[in-house]
Each structure stands twice: as structure tokens, then as C-alpha cells.
């Protein structure tokens, strides 16, 4: 892999990590309104898949979606302000952590109803196929989504219509607070089901960013070339709990310790250093990420709170809602 690409992956992962750590701190300070679901520990998936995508491709994410917007290039300030519910947020404070959306980057929504986005992703994939635009839709979901009906409807429809869509399962081993293996009939929740729909599937180490990039490139390019949908399942682990201040005590200590040892960012740093990248270069990337997050944090804190009027805007296209009174 060329050094520029490798450093790009490292930069994306680092920006995500710094952002998520700050989001957690701000939540504990009661500055984040609503809730958060953080993706610290899962950065390699977002960075690797995004690097495999074209600028005009589409992305669908879950409520644990910060990682993917950052990887697609959404402004950290707009995101942080959104988490804090401010007017200068990505959605003027209307969406919050769970509903980040950036049409300009092709991120067509964060979906907090489990599995909802899989069937919706088929629609955008259908539109690119119909238009012959060559765009690929990448749809992220968690391991928990594989047990809901929409997952199965979506895989079947995508296969029937041979859509340019890649279904990406981030298997972090826990659906909310329960181990996925204790409620799932198969060992690997996504890849073991894919053959039932005739879809190619790969099980990949989701903490190895270069393995993620390679597998995602294969799947995305297959879809772009008209080879149809496929399923990727990345094994990973979230460093924190499910949401808010959840300490994640339902996870065995030795399991947590083992996965912390497999943290994708220090692991990749070791790889890069072993290839001869100077420590100073990597330190500088981290310093830049921290500075960017600091700047975003300040701008978010300085942002005004929205007026009540915001709650009544964009209900209907004609501006209407007052008929209700």
C-alpha cells in the first residue's frame, strides 16, 4: 500500500477516535443533549470502507454512525454542534447524535430503527442501477440488525434485482446489552445468512484497516461493475458501552482486555512504524486531529441554541403544521 493512502487511513481513524473521546467527555459534562452511541474501537471499518468508495457513492449508517460521517468528510464542527443541539449543527440541532445526515457527502441518513436502512438502501441502489450512474450504495448495520425482518427482506430484494449495494455488518459482538451469539441461530450473524440469498460474503478482521480496505474494495468494485450485491461482516469491538454512560459491565473483563489489546489504531501505528514511517509524522497527525476536535468543540459550545420555531419547520413542504390547532 502506498504511504499516502496508509497515512490517510491513520488520519481518519485518529480523527474519529479523538472526536468520540471528546463526545464522551461532553456527554459526562451534560452538554450533549439526547443520547450518544459511540464508535470508539470500530474506526478501522469506517476508515477502510470509506477509502474504498467513490465520492458520489451513497452511505447509510446506524445510530452508531459518527465514524462514518467523519470518514466521508463531514465537518467535525457541524457534527459536534449537532451533538450539542446547537443552531450551527449539521441539522441545526434537530437530528442529534442518532440522526446525522449529510446529503452533500452522500450520507443519506443515520437510522435508529434497527434494520430500517437496509431496505431503504436498496432504493438508492435501484436508482443508480436505473440511471446507469455507476454509483454504489454502502449500507452499514450492526450484528443485532441481522435478526430483524428487514435484513432478510433487503437481502432478498437486492439479490432479486441484482442491485449495486454492499451490506456491511459491524459485528461488535453485542446487540445493545446482550451477546449476539446468545440470541442468534448461527455463529456469524451476517455471513452465515448471506448464502441463503445467493450472495457472496466475507468474514474479515474489522480491526485491521488494510484488510477492511481490501475486502471493501473488492465488494464495492464488484457492485460497480454490475456484479450485484454482497455482504461483508467485520469482527470488531466497541470500547465503551452501548449508549450514554453505559459502563458495559455485562462484558467479561478478560474479553474487554483482549479487545483493547487489539485496538485498531495503535496496531496500525505499529505497522506503519515497522514500514519506516517516522513517529513524528504520526504524532503530527494526532496533534492535527486533536486541534480539529478542539476547534469543533469550541465552535459547538459557542453556537446558539435553536428557537422553538425549529420544531415546526419542515413538517410539510408548504410550511404547514398549524392546521393542527
Amino acid at each position: 500500500m502506498d504511504e499516502a493512502t496508509a497515512l490517510g487511513l491513520y488520519r481518519t481513524m485518529t480523527r474519529i477516535r479523538k472526536f468520540e473521546q471528546r463526545a464522551y467527555d461532553l456527554f459526562l459534562q451534560n452538554l450533549v443533549k439526547g443520547t450518544t452511541h459511540l464508535g470508539a474501537g470500530q474506526e478501522a471499518i469506517a476508515a477502510g470502507v470509506a477509502a474504498a468508495m467513490r465520492e458520489d457513492d451513497y452511505t447509510f449508517v446506524t445510530y452508531r454512525g459518527h465514524n462514518h460521517l467523519i470518514a466521508r468528510g463531514t465537518s467535525l464542527t457541524a457534527m459536534m454542534a449537532e451533538l450539542l443541539g446547537r443552531e450551527n449543527g449539521l441539522m441545526r440541532g434537530k437530528g442529534g447524535s442518532m440522526h446525522l445526515l449529510d446529503v452533500s457527502k452522500g450520507v443519506l441518513g443515520s437510522y435508529a430503527i434497527i434494520g430500517a436502512q437496509l431496505v431503504i438502501a436498496n432504493g438508492t441502489a435501484w436508482s443508480s442501477q436505473y440511471r446507469g450512474s455507476g454509483q454504489v450504495t454502502v449500507c452499514f448495520f450492526g450484528d443485532g440488525a441481522t435478526n430483524i425482518g428487514a435484513f432478510h427482506e433487503a437481502l432478498n430484494l437486492a439479490a432479486v434485482w441484482s442491485l449495486p449495494v454492499v451490506f456491511v455488518c459491524e459485528n461488535n459482538r453485542y446487540m445493545e446489552y446482550t451477546a449476539i451469539e446468545s440470541v442468534t441461530a448461527v455463529k456469524n450473524p451476517a455471513v452465515d445468512r448471506a448464502p441463503a440469498y445467493g450472495l457472496p460474503a466475507s468474514l474479515v478482521d474489522g480491526n485491521d484497516v488494510e484488510a477492511v480496505l481490501a475486502s471493501a474494495t473488492e465488494a464495492v468494485e464488484r457492485a460497480r461493475a454490475g456484479g450485484g450485491p454482497s455482504v461483508l461482516e467485520y469482527l470488531t469491538y466497541r470500547h465503551g458501552g452501548h449508549s450514554r454512560a453505559d459502563p458495559g459491565k455485562y462484558r467479561p473483563d478478560d474479553e474487554v482486555a483482549e479487545w483493547l489489546r487489539r485496538d485498531p489504531i495503535p496496531a496500525y501505528r505499529r505497522v506503519l512504524v515497522s514500514r519506516g514511517v517516522a513517529e513524528a509524522v504520526l504524532d503530527e497527525i494526532e496533534a492535527q486531529a486533536k486541534a480539529a476536535v478542539d476547534e469543533a468543540t469550541q465552535a459547538a459550545k459557542d453556537g446558539p441554541e435553536p428557537d422553538l420555531e425549529l420544531a415546526f419547520a419542515d413538517v410539510w413542504s408548504d410550511g404547514g403544521w398549524t392546521w393542527r390547532n
Partner: protein, 327 residues
């Protein structure tokens, strides 16, 4: 003018929508080769191709979800839900995503999706095939909800719904699919009654009857019967259930002083309750009698041998009219 059934009028309206805008796409169970179980999409796949009239699996969440994705990229999907009771697997997509994406995206995203639902009973088809779930959708902010009652309205309202930038839940009175009337297929859509407006279908002075969908014909027949007894009923077809055209309703009730609301849906928590509350709130001093409601029982839809008791008919409407006039 052409004589059409309500089903054929919808078919012609959809055909026009497909001709007018290449972004219009029809999808649903058996809508293509079969032409729909009520023949509303008959012949459309043959004329517009399998890419624009799409036979889907029996997967309502997948159908509506795909439509949302298509709308995200500028298409105008029209989804057919085969029977009213089949909409519930898609209810999550409709309520949690379709209704909310515009608001959630600050208007960057519009959702010009039409969900067509044949609703109501009267064809001996028992539960899942005879229900009236309109209040559930009218209760949900961000959706528009309409119901057609005649071939003429079916032809124009379906086209107006396809043109709407907001999602429209489009209720079709399934037992009236075979009702016939003259339809002007060349009429300009811009000159038609707006989608959000109610229409007075019979003028009268003694009492206002409000209805929509299949109950409009029942109420017009009730007005004729009442007229023979010297009672003058005004019948308003609400057409739009969200938003409600309260201006038309209130103007009528202020003149007549009495109102009966008729729908097939259960009375408890139904649209009649909302309308009665607004009438009471906004023209209390004009009322000569309490606003009365006629509707289905608050039970699951009954077996077909009993459905005639469940569905409001001429006698039940006239009984409510008598009670309102007796005050």
C-alpha cells in the same frame, strides 16, 4: 366525458402520472403482470415496462423502504398495499422514516411517495381485508392522508397525490371500485378541486353529514331518503383527512347547527372524535345538538356474516340524524 369505474379511473390517473413524469414508478404485490388484485394497475406494466411497474415480493417493509430510497434520489414511487391490513408490516417504515425524513433533514430531503391502500369492508373479506386504519396515519405528523369516494375524484386525486412533495397515504374505498360515473379525462389538473379541500356533495339546511371514502355514497342515499321525509341534509365529502378542511366543515355547521360524522372505522379514537372536538371548540354557540358519530364497533373486524351489522348503513345514519334533530 367517459364512463369509468372507480378502479378504472385510478388506472387512468396512474397512466397519466406515468406519462407525465418519467420519475414516477409503481411498485407492489402483483401490480405488474396481474395488474393488481383490484385491477387498478391493469396494463401499466405492459405499456411502461418492468422497470417502472415493478412486481415485488410479499414484503411490505421492503416495498415501502425501497420506495423511500427511490424518493431519496428524486423518484416518485407509488406503492400499492394490497389490502388495508397488510400495511402494518410497513407501518414502521411509514411512521418512523417516511413521515419524518423531511423534518429530520431540514427539508434537504423530500418524500414524494404515495401509499395506495384499498380500505374498508363490505366485500365479505373479513379482517386484514376490510379495515379502516386511517386515523393511525392522520395521527402521524408529516403524512398527508386522503380518501377518494368517486371515479372523478379518484382520477384527479391520485394524480395530485403523485405530484405532492409530501408523502400521501391514499385510501381507496374498495367496495366502491366498481361504482361508475362520468369522468373528464381531459380536465386540467390545475383546475381540479385542491387535494386538501373538502367538497359539498349534497346541499341542505337542517343538518350537516360528514363522510369520506365508501360512506359518502351511503350518506348521499341517506340525504335522499331524509329529503323524502322533508328533512334537508347537507353532505360533505371530507376527501382530505390530514389536513382537515375545517373551513368548509365549520361554515356548513354554522348554518345547519347540527352535525353527524360517519365513518367505517371504530368510533373510539376515530377521526370523528377529532372533528367533533374541533366543531365543539370552534362553533359551540351555533350548535343546536351534540355532534354525533356513526361508525364501526370498537372490536376487531367481524366475520363476513356479521359485517353488515358493523358497517354503518342507511338506517344507522338516519337514526343518528333523527336523534340530532330531536334535540
Amino acid at each position: 366525458m367517459t364512463t369509468l369505474t372507480l378502479s378504472k379511473a385510478l388506472n387512468e390517473g396512474l397512466r397519466k402520472a406515468l406519462e407525465d413524469n418519467p420519475k414516477v414508478i409503481i411498485m407492489g404485490e402483483d401490480v405488474g403482470k396481474l395488474g393488481g388484485v383490484f385491477r387498478v394497475t391493469d396494463g401499466l406494466q405492459k405499456d411502461f415496462g418492468e422497470d417502472r411497474v415493478i412486481d415485488t415480493p410479499l414484503a411490505e417493509s421492503g416495498i415501502v423502504g425501497t420506495a423511500i430510497g427511490l424518493a431519496l434520489r428524486g423518484y416518485r414511487p407509488v406503492c400499492e398495499i394490497q389490502f388495508d391490513g397488510f400495511v402494518f408490516p410497513a407501518f414502521d417504515q411509514i411512521v418512523s422514516q417516511l413521515a419524518k425524513l423531511r423534518l429530520r433533514s431540514l427539508g434537504h430531503i423530500t418524500m414524494p411517495v404515495v401509499i395506495r391502500i384499498p380500505f374498508g369492508g363490505g366485500i365479505g373479506a373479513v379482517e386484514h381485508h376490510s379495515e379502516s386504519p386511517e386515523a393511525l396515519f392522520a395521527h402521524t405528523g408529516g403524512l398527508r392522508v386522503v380518501a377518494c369516494s368517486s371515479p372523478g375524484d379518484a382520477y384527479t386525486m391520485i394524480q395530485q397525490s403523485v405530484r405532492s412533495p409530501d408523502p400521501v397515504i391514499f385510501f381507496e374505498p374498495k367496495r366502491r371500485y366498481w361504482d361508475k360515473a362520468e369522468v373528464d379525462l381531459s380536465a386540467a389538473l390545475d383546475e381540479a378541486t385542491p387535494l386538501t379541500a373538502a367538497r359539498t356533495v349534497a346541499q341542505g339546511t337542517d343538518l350537516t353529514v360528514l363522510a369520506y371514502g365508501p360512506m359518502v355514497r351511503t350518506c348521499v342515499e341517506a340525504a335522499v331518503a331524509a329529503g323524502e321525509e322533508g328533512r334537508s341534509l347537507e353532505v360533505i365529502d371530507l376527501r382530505s383527512l390530514s389536513p382537515l378542511d375545517m373551513d368548509t366543515v365549520l361554515a356548513s355547521v354554522r348554518r345547519t347547527g347540527r352535525c353527524v360524522i360517519v365513518h367505517e372505522a371504530a368510533v373510539s379514537g376515530g377521526l370523528g372524535a377529532e372533528i367533533a372536538a374541533r366543531i365543539t371548540q370552534d362553533c359551540f354557540y351555533h350548535l343546536e345538538a351534540p355532534v354525533l358519530r356513526v361508525g364501526g364497533f370498537s372490536t376487531p373486524y367481524p366475520p363476513s356474516r356479521l359485517e353488515e351489522h358493523f358497517l354503518p348503513d342507511l338506517d344507522r345514519v338516519l337514526d343518528a340524524v333523527d336523534r340530532a334533530l330531536a334535540y
